[in-house]
């Protein structure tokens, strides 16, 4: 059986979620591996969400928001840039491959770009194989 990555997508309401919607209404075909959660702004994405997703078995996490300068709340996605840059360091310290986590900008008009971004992370994660984070937690548990 081929490995189908489970990827969590956290999308901002104003740009990326609408962009993903456009990909659907435009009938663009792309990988079905991303499960989408909508948030009002990518600035709302707490790094805890991403760690929790990995801890609970996600093979990859994709955060998508408005392009810098286009935030509906003016400054929200600048905070996202800063947080996710630092989070990438933290994930690397845990030994998590950088390809498993991506921050992307997708506007409401970029349905084709959304499809491309999803295909890209799906292929990258597929090459890496299943995430070992949940397995590690099981192996490391005192009951084991």
């Amino acid at each position: 059986m081929t490995f189908e990555p489970k990827i969590l997508g956290i999308l901002c309401n104003w740009c990326s979620y609408t962009g993903a919607d456009l990909a659907g209404t435009s009938r663009i075909k792309y990988s079905p591996n991303v499960r989408v959660v909508r948030v009002m702004c990518s600035g709302r994405v707490d790094p805890q969400f991403i760690l929790k997703a990995f801890a609970e078995g996600a093979d990859g996490v994709l955060v998508a928001g408005c392009h810098p300068g286009d935030c509906h709340y003016i400054e929200g996605n600048y905070k996202t840039i800063r947080r996710m840059a630092l989070l990438k360091h933290m994930l690397a310290d845990y030994g998590i491959e950088p390809e498993r986590f991506r921050l992307e900008w997708v506007s409401a008009g970029e349905g084709d770009r959304w499809a491309h971004v999803v295909n890209k992370i799906t292929e990258d994660v597929r090459k890496l194989g299943p995430s070992k984070i949940k397995k590690t937690a099981k192996k490391a548990s005192p009951a084991a």
């Binding site: 707490d46 790094p47 805890q48 991403i50 760690l51 929790k52 990995f54 801890a55 810098p68 600048y78 905070k79 840039i81 800063r82 947080r83 840059a85 630092l86 989070l87 360091h89 933290m90 310290d93 845990y94 030994g95 998590i96 070992k132 984070i133 397995k135 590690t136 937690a137 192996k139 490391a140 548990s141 005192p142």
Partner: protein, 319 residues
């Protein structure tokens, strides 16, 4: 009133928590007046057999310091759980893993290699490493087995209360003793001897307004102004994501908070929360400029989650 029975045990810890108990100074006599100390390896001569001989639930309160990192720690955690009415995870190590928890970023093999082969002061041509069991002419000798992963106390046994801190401050220890003596115990699972809010909520250092960081500084290479908020000066301070209750003793001594009191109420992952708060005050909008600034933190996981990796959402380096 009958005296209550008190035990204090150290597992994988430095012994600082025991010293902190003694740091209540002459009040230790008040503790001795209110409590019969039935087990305290660092200070009094008790053997494990003495504890094994006790009936279950014999001890009223056990202050358990230290993480669970080897088979002896685990055995004593189970033993003291059975013998105690209330088991308290006392200090950062028992509470959230503490400094020993940093070992979760390595494997046991990597640690053995470093300690028994690579350190400059080590000469070990035969590559001898500790084995749990060795057979000599007189019979088998055993030592506890070191585990690959450091655990918090509540990952191994059921814990009634938590007292955070590395170590808990003497003032808080005294408060905890008074709570126990009064018999008005809080609900199970409570963090006692600390506040619900963050360090920043209690910190009295001068804050000038909006924080904007364009460069991260390190206390080893730059001198902070001890009267002003460390974050405003660009020094990493874990105050925004650390539980208060220590009277911000580090900050008042000119040292930024390192996060030993763990996450405040409602936070799942102290490191992620600290990272989130501190990243948001970086004063840059261009991705390249942000990258340049965050790259100045050489060791982000250990800077943001120095004490709590075993208690975090991801508890160790991926195997």
């Amino acid at each position: 009133m009958a005296k209550f029975k008190l035990a204090s045990y150290w597992a994988s810890a430095c012994g600082g928590c025991d010293v902190a108990i003694l740091d209540v100074h002459e009040k230790i006599l008040d503790i001795a007046a209110a409590a019969d100390i039935v087990f305290w390896p660092i200070a009094l001569d008790f053997k494990y057999q003495d504890v094994e001989a006790m009936p279950d639930g014999h001890i009223d309160v056990t202050l358990f310091h230290g993480a669970v990192r080897n088979s002896e720690n685990e055995h004593l955690a189970h033993l003291l759980r059975a013998k105690s009415k209330a088991l308290v995870a006392f200090g950062s190590c028992a509470h959230i893993g503490g400094i020993p928890g940093l070992a979760n970023l390595f494997t046991k093999e990597e640690i053995f290699k470093r300690v028994y082969q690579e350190t400059p002061s080590t000469v070990n041509p035969e590559n001898i490493t500790p084995q749990p069991k060795v057979t000599v002419a007189e019979g088998d000798l055993t030592i506890p087995e070191l585990y690959n992963t450091v655990h918090t106390l509540n990952q191994v046994v059921d814990v009634d209360y938590y007292v955070p801190g590395c170590p808990p401050t003497p003032k808080q220890i005294w408060n905890v003793v008074q709570v126990i003596v009064s018999g008005k115990l809080p609900p199970k699972g409570s963090v006692i001897g600390a506040s619900e809010k963050t360090q920043c909520d209690e910190c009295t250092l001068k804050k000038n307004g909006e924080k904007k960081i364009t460069a991260f500084k390190r206390i080893a290479t730059a001198q902070p102004d001890p009267a002003i908020c460390f974050l405003e000066q660009g020094f990493l301070c874990m105050g925004p994501a650390t539980r208060g209750g220590c009277d911000t003793r580090c900050q008042l001594s000119g040292v930024p908070c390192r996060g030993c009191y763990g996450a405040p109420a409602g936070v799942l992952d102290q490191g992620a929360k600290a990272l989130s708060a501190i990243a948001s005050i970086i004063d840059a909008k261009e991705e390249a400029e942000v990258q340049r600034i965050v790259d100045q933190i050489p060791d982000s996981l250990r800077s943001f989650n120095r004490f709590g990796i075993p208690a975090s959402l991801i508890t160790r380096k991926v195997l």
